[in-house]
Symmetry: C2
Subunit: 239 residues, 2 copies
């Protein structure tokens, strides 16, 4: 039953968790490891692939295999807690933003409930903690609503708060999948490591979509938390 690659993966996993292999350290070369475990390189690589999928090992082509730094887990706070993604994370993160004005492609017009070829602002966020990327967010704001020149998140957040008509509903759809090659590259994660994909649509009281955000978070170091509080006194009415 226990295949060789699982035995090897278990051994390496134990070496990592026990501290024999430290974070950031480079593993012996695949050829050396293959010799040590007396397996072929293909088998050894499939063992490393398991660890890679768990986020324990990072492979760098032409350089080596490295023990990933221990993951400081970040939490995306959903629901009532967060009207904007940059305020939705538990830890302060360095982020970069780039705003561009685009013609809405079809999948966005349906999401934002806009006529085809509408003009809207796309803000691309990448959040980092140190050098390692932590998240990826595409945020779409129609109607020239976003600040064009200074892409400061605070401004958008402030405008959302003072909005008239007020925002009335936030829908957040969460799914799990493997990253696209592009996402894996920018997040510097393995293509076999699951990501958490969030689609958030904010609507005002007239039913118009104010903002849509597509977030991608690496599954090994991020999760989303939704808290719902019930009002105790009046729980008689039901829909």
């Amino acid at each position: 039953m226990p295949s060789r690659r699982h035995v090897i993966a278990d051994d390496l996993r134990h070496q990592i968790s026990s501290g024999q292999l430290k974070a950031g350290e480079r593993l012996p070369s695949e050829a050396q490891l293959a010799t040590r475990y007396t397996v072929s390189t293909a088998t050894l690589r499939s063992a490393l692939a398991l660890l890679q999928g768990e986020g324990l090992v990072e492979k760098i082509h032409g350089n080596g295999n490295f023990v990933r730094h221990p993951l400081r887990r970040i939490t995306y706070a959903g629901g009532a807690a967060a009207p904007a993604p940059w305020t939705a994370f538990s830890a302060p993160l360095r982020m970069t933003a780039r705003t561009t004005n685009i013609k809405a492609p079809s999948h966005l017009t349906t999401l934002l409930n806009l006529p085809p070829r509408s003009s809207l602002n796309e803000v691309l966020f990448t959040t980092h903690e140190g050098k390692t990327p932590h998240g990826l967010a595409h945020i779409y704001v129609p109607h020239g609503f976003a600040p064009a020149t200074p892409p400061l998140p605070e401004q958008i957040a402030a405008r959302l708060a003072d909005l008239r008509p007020p925002l009335s509903e936030v829908q957040e759809r969460v799914s799990a999948r493997l990253p696209t090659l592009e996402e894996a590259e920018t997040l510097r994660i393995s293509p076999s490591l699951a990501v958490l994909s969030l689609t958030r649509v904010t609507t005002d009281s007239t039913g118009r979509v104010i903002e849509a955000a597509l977030l991608v978070l690496p599954g090994d170091r991020a999760d989303a938390l939704f808290t719902t509080r019930f009002v105790t006194e009046e729980r008689s009415s039901k829909k």
Copy 2:
């Protein structure tokens, strides 16, 4: 740049989406496909692995590779919508339940905020649509709260609604990861297909944990939806 396995995967993917290969159909054997694409079996298998991770292909050892049936996406409705998981799904699903009384292991005592070695009821749900499993849920209820003999979900739901003191908070934590081997087996999904992992903790107004649920949903056919409505200052009428 384009590796052979990606070219092959693209071709097969197109054959599936275009209908040349129909749902449920068996693909040609790996040996035949390897000959057709003039690659080795190892390369062809790595191409199939890509499709497997996308949920397009199901491998059955000793039998063949099959095109998976088109996924009817199910939605887990979180937040205020759902006090119980069996009411939280968009589509009616057949489910089986098994109740056992266990001594709480340590990871559960911290989650439920209970003293060590507490006795609690574990309910294991598996939901199906037709023959294919859709979800997996472990639900833990302390204090002999769950119905012991008839594990009918309605009874638990009813008790939760009439609870005194009333429930006051639901916390749902969502993460994305690869399934364990056991989960992959019971859900009949590939070990390389991401799953959505939900941990829900329900607390009553005294801060006591009423129920904890651990849900695992296959990422290719399930997502979770959280809706938050904001009440405006003035009294808003129900629509």
